[in-house]
C-alpha cells in the first residue's frame, strides 16, 4: 500500500502538467492546441490596398501552422478590419480584446488609427506587436504591452534625410507632404534631423491634401525654390499624381519618398518606369522583394495568403513582426502567459528576422525594435536597386 507521501510524489508530475495546462488555458486566447492572434488592418475602404500587410501576417502564421505550429499549438488568426478609419479601428480593437479574446494583437497599419487605439490596447494589457504603422508615438512613451516590431517614422525620416544629404552638394531641401498626423510623423523628425545633424534651418514645405488629382501648384512652387533634393511624404494615389506632374513640368530634382506607397504599384499607376527615374523610396528590407535573399520568405507568404488574395509588395509590410512573435513564443515554451510574452519580447536582442533590414532588439525602456532603413530606386543603368546612401548599394 502506498503511503500518502509516495502517492503525492507519484502524482506530482501529473499535477504539474495539469497546472501547466491550466495556466495555458487560463491565458486568454490560448488553449491546449491553439493560440488566438488578432490582426488589425484596413481590409476595406479607400486604403484597403494596405490590407495586404495584414494578409501577409496571416499568411506567415499559416506557414508556421503547416510546419506544426509552436509547441503543438496552431495559430488561429482573426482578421479585424479598421478600414484605415479611427472610429472603425477602435471598434475593431475592442472586438478583438473583449469579444474574440485574442492572446495578442499583431498588426496595425494606418498610423492615425493606431494612435487612436493605443490607449485602449494599453489599458487592456493585451500584447500588441505593431506590424506596419510607423508613427513613433504609437509606441512612445513606452507602454508595457506595446512593441514596435518595424522601423518607426523617425527611423524613416532620418533615413530620408541621410540619403538626401549623402548626395554631394545637397544644401536646399524641399518637402511635399499631407497635412495629417501620419505625415507629421515623418515631417517633424525629418526637419529636426536636418537641423540637428546638418544645420539646415530653412526647408521649403508645401502640402498636398488627400484626394488631390493635380499637383501643378505644388510642383511649380518647388521648381521655383531651386532645390537640391525633395522629400515626398504622400500616400500612393497622391504620390502618383505628384510624380506625374513633376515629370510634366520638368521638376527633375532627385526625390526620396516615405513609406505609405508601394514602389511597383506607383510605377504601374504611372504606366512605366520613366516617371520613377530619380525617385527613391525608403525600404525596410534587406534586399529587393524579388531578390534571392528574400525568395524563401516570399514563397512562404505567397503560398499561404488567404483565399482570393494575391501577392503585392504590401504583403511584405508586416510579416517581419510575425517572425519575431513566433520566435518569442518558441522561446517561452509551452507554458504561455501574456506576462511571459512581454518579458521575452523585452529580452529579445539582435534578432534577425531574415526579412527586415538590420536586427530587432527591445528592452524595458525601448519598445522600438528596428532602426535600420535602406532606400530603393533605379540606378544609373536603369536597374532597380537597394541603396544605403546616394550612389552606394546596400550589401
Amino acid at each position: 500500500m502506498l503511503t500518502l507521501t509516495r502517492r503525492l510524489l507519484l502524482a506530482l508530475p501529473m499535477m504539474l502538467a495539469a497546472a501547466g495546462l491550466a495556466q495555458a488555458q487560463d491565458a486568454p486566447g490560448v488553449t491546449e492546441n491553439t493560440i488566438k492572434i488578432g490582426i488589425l488592418a484596413p481590409f476595406s475602404g479607400p486604403n484597403a490596398s494596405f490590407g495586404a500587410a495584414g494578409y501577409g501576417v496571416a499568411a506567415y502564421y499559416q506557414h508556421i501552422n503547416k510546419q506544426g505550429g509552436v509547441h503543438g499549438r496552431q495559430f488561429e488568426v482573426i482578421l479585424s478590419d479598421t478600414a484605415c478609419n479611427e472610429a472603425t479601428g477602435i471598434a475593431a480593437a475592442r472586438r478583438l480584446i473583449s469579444q474574440d479574446e485574442v492572446f495578442l494583437i499583431n498588426g496595425g497599419v494606418c498610423s492615425g488609427v493606431c494612435l487612436a487605439i493605443r490607449p485602449i490596447i494599453e489599458e487592456s494589457g493585451v500584447p500588441w506587436v505593431i506590424s506596419t504603422a510607423a508613427n513613433q508615438n504609437i509606441s512612445e512613451p513606452v507602454a508595457d504591452n506595446i512593441f514596435h516590431a518595424i522601423q518607426t517614422s523617425r527611423d524613416y525620416a532620418d533615413a530620408m534625410g541621410r540619403f538626401a544629404m549623402s548626395k554631394p552638394g545637397t544644401e536646399k531641401i524641399g518637402i511635399i507632404a499631407h497635412t495629417n498626423e501620419w505625415a507629421k510623423g515623418y515631417q517633424d523628425p525629418l526637419v529636426q534631423y536636418l537641423k540637428d545633424e546638418h544645420g539646415i534651418e530653412q526647408v521649403t514645405e508645401v502640402t498636398m491634401e488627400r484626394g488631390s488629382n493635380d499637383a501643378t501648384a505644388q510642383v511649380l512652387s518647388l521648381r521655383q525654390a531651386d532645390l537640391d533634393f525633395i522629400v515626398v511624404i504622400l500616400y500612393e494615389p497622391e504620390l502618383a499624381v505628384f510624380l506625374r506632374d513633376a515629370k510634366l513640368h520638368g521638376l527633375d530634382v532627385p526625390k526620396v519618398g516615405s513609406l505609405g506607397a508601394d514602389f511597383s504599384n506607383t510605377q504601374n499607376r504611372l504606366g512605366g518606369k520613366e516617371p520613377m527615374q530619380g525617385f527613391y523610396m525608403v525600404h525596410q528590407y534587406r534586399g529587393l522583394l524579388d531578390s534571392p535573399v528574400l525568395a524563401d520568405f516570399r514563397e512562404a507568404i505567397t503560398e499561404n495568403l488567404p483565399e482570393g488574395q494575391s501577392f503585392t509588395d504590401f504583403s511584405f509590410y508586416g510579416p517581419g513582426s510575425a517572425v519575431a512573435v513566433v520566435h518569442v513564443l518558441e522561446q517561452i515554451g509551452p507554458d504561455l502567459t501574456r506576462e511571459k510574452f512581454i518579458e521575452a519580447m523585452e529580452n529579445l536582442q539582435n534578432f534577425d528576422t531574415g526579412v527586415l533590414a538590420g536586427t530587432m532588439s527591445f528592452s524595458p525602456d525601448d519598445h522600438q525594435g528596428v532602426s535600420d532603413v535602406n532606400v530603393i530606386g533605379y540606378d544609373e543603368n536603369g536597374e532597380l536597386s537597394v541603396f544605403s546612401a546616394w550612389g552606394e548599394k546596400a550589401k
Binding site: 475602404g45 479607400p46 488629382n213 501643378t216 511649380l220 512652387s221 494615389p237 510634366l248 499607376r269
Partner: protein, 289 residues
C-alpha cells in the same frame, strides 16, 4: 509660372465644369440638385473599365455602352426612387440622391475596394510645350468637351423646343402637365441625360485621376462650388464657374499657400452665398433645397 498656373487652372477647371454642367442639366429640368452625381461619374468610369478591360470590348463601343447604361440607370433611379417622393420635401430628394451615390460607391468597394486602377486612355497622352507652358492632350480634350457640351446644351435649352419644354416644367410642373407635357417622363429623361453626362465625365477624367471607388469624393464639392459660383441653373455659369474655380485653386495654392487648394471650393461657396447668392449668371429665385 503665372501662365502655366492659368493654363493648368483652366484645364483643372474644365473637369469641374463638366461635373457642374451635368448637375445643371438635372437641376434645370427638375429643380433637384443631384448630390449623388460624383458617384454616377465613378459608376460610369467603372462600367467602361469593366467593358474594356474585363470583357475586352473595343473602347469606343464600351464608351457608348457606358453612356447608355448610365442613361438607363439615371432614368430608372428617377422613375423608381425619385418620382414617388416628388411631392415630399426637397431635402428628402437630396437625401435619396446621396443614398443612391453611396450605394454605388459601396458596390464598387466590394469589387475594387483595394484597388486604384490605371484607366485605359481614349486619347493619347501627348504633351505640348509652348514656351514655358506645358499642356497635355488630356487637358485640351477635357476643356474642349466641356466647352462643346456647353454649346450643345445651350442650343438645346435656348434654341430648341426641348428647351421651351424644360423651361415650362421648371417654372410650373403642374402647368406643364395641364398643357399635355408628360412631366414624369421628362424628369426621368433629364436624370438619364445627367447620368450619361456623368459617365462621359468619368471616361474623360479617370485617365488623368486614376480609377477607384472613392474617386468622386473630391469632385462633387468642386462641381457644386462651380455651380454656386456660376449661378444655379446657368449653363455658361457652370462652365465659367468651373474654370474660375480651377484657376483660383492653383493661384492661391502657388502664391499664398498650398493648404488653400483644398478649401478654395468651400470658401467660394461661403463667399458667394453670403455676397451674391445668385452667383455670377444665375437669376434670383426661391429654391427649395
Amino acid at each position: 509660372m503665372l501662365a502655366q498656373l492659368l493654363v493648368s487652372g483652366i484645364a483643372q477647371g474644365a473637369i469641374y465644369a463638366l461635373v457642374a454642367l451635368a448637375m445643371t442639366v438635372i437641376y434645370r429640368a427638375t429643380t433637384v440638385v443631384n448630390f449623388g452625381h460624383g458617384d454616377l461619374l465613378m459608376a460610369g468610369a467603372f462600367s467602361v473599365y469593366v467593358f474594356v478591360v474585363l470583357l475586352g470590348i473595343p473602347y469606343l463601343v464600351a464608351a457608348g455602352l457606358g453612356l447608355l447604361l448610365l442613361f438607363v440607370f439615371g432614368y430608372l433611379v428617377q422613375r423608381q426612387l425619385i418620382q414617388p417622393m416628388l411631392d415630399g420635401p426637397h431635402l428628402a430628394l437630396a437625401m435619396m440622391a446621396i443614398a443612391v451615390g453611396f450605394a454605388l460607391r459601396g458596390i464598387a468597394r466590394i469589387y475594387w475596394g483595394r484597388e486604384v486602377l490605371p484607366f485605359p486612355r481614349i486619347f493619347p497622352a501627348d504633351v505640348y510645350v509652348l514656351g514655358d507652358v506645358v499642356v497635355t492632350s488630356g487637358n485640351l480634350i477635357v476643356t474642349g468637351v466641356a466647352l462643346t457640351l456647353m454649346l450643345v446644351l445651350f442650343a438645346v435649352f435656348y434654341l430648341s423646343p426641348v428647351g421651351k419644354l424644360a423651361q415650362a416644367v421648371f417654372q410650373s410642373a403642374r402647368g406643364a402637365a395641364l398643357v399635355g407635357i408628360n412631366v414624369p417622363r421628362f424628369y426621368s429623361i433629364a436624370w438619364g441625360v445627367g447620368a450619361a453626362m456623368a459617365a462621359l465625365g468619368g471616361i474623360l477624367i479617370a485617365p488623368m485621376t486614376f480609377l477607384y471607388p472613392d474617386m468622386s469624393v473630391w469632385i462633387l464639392i468642386r462641381g457644386f462650388a462651380a455651380m454656386t459660383l456660376g449661378g444655379f441653373g446657368s449653363l455658361h455659369g457652370a462652365v465659367v464657374g468651373g474654370l474660375l474655380l480651377g484657376v483660383m485653386e492653383l493661384l492661391l495654392g502657388a502664391y499664398v499657400s498650398s493648404s488653400l487648394i483644398e478649401i478654395t471650393s468651400y470658401l467660394v461657396i461661403i463667399l458667394v452665398l453670403l455676397f451674391r447668392p445668385a452667383g455670377l449668371f444665375g437669376q434670383r429665385q426661391v429654391v427649395r433645397v
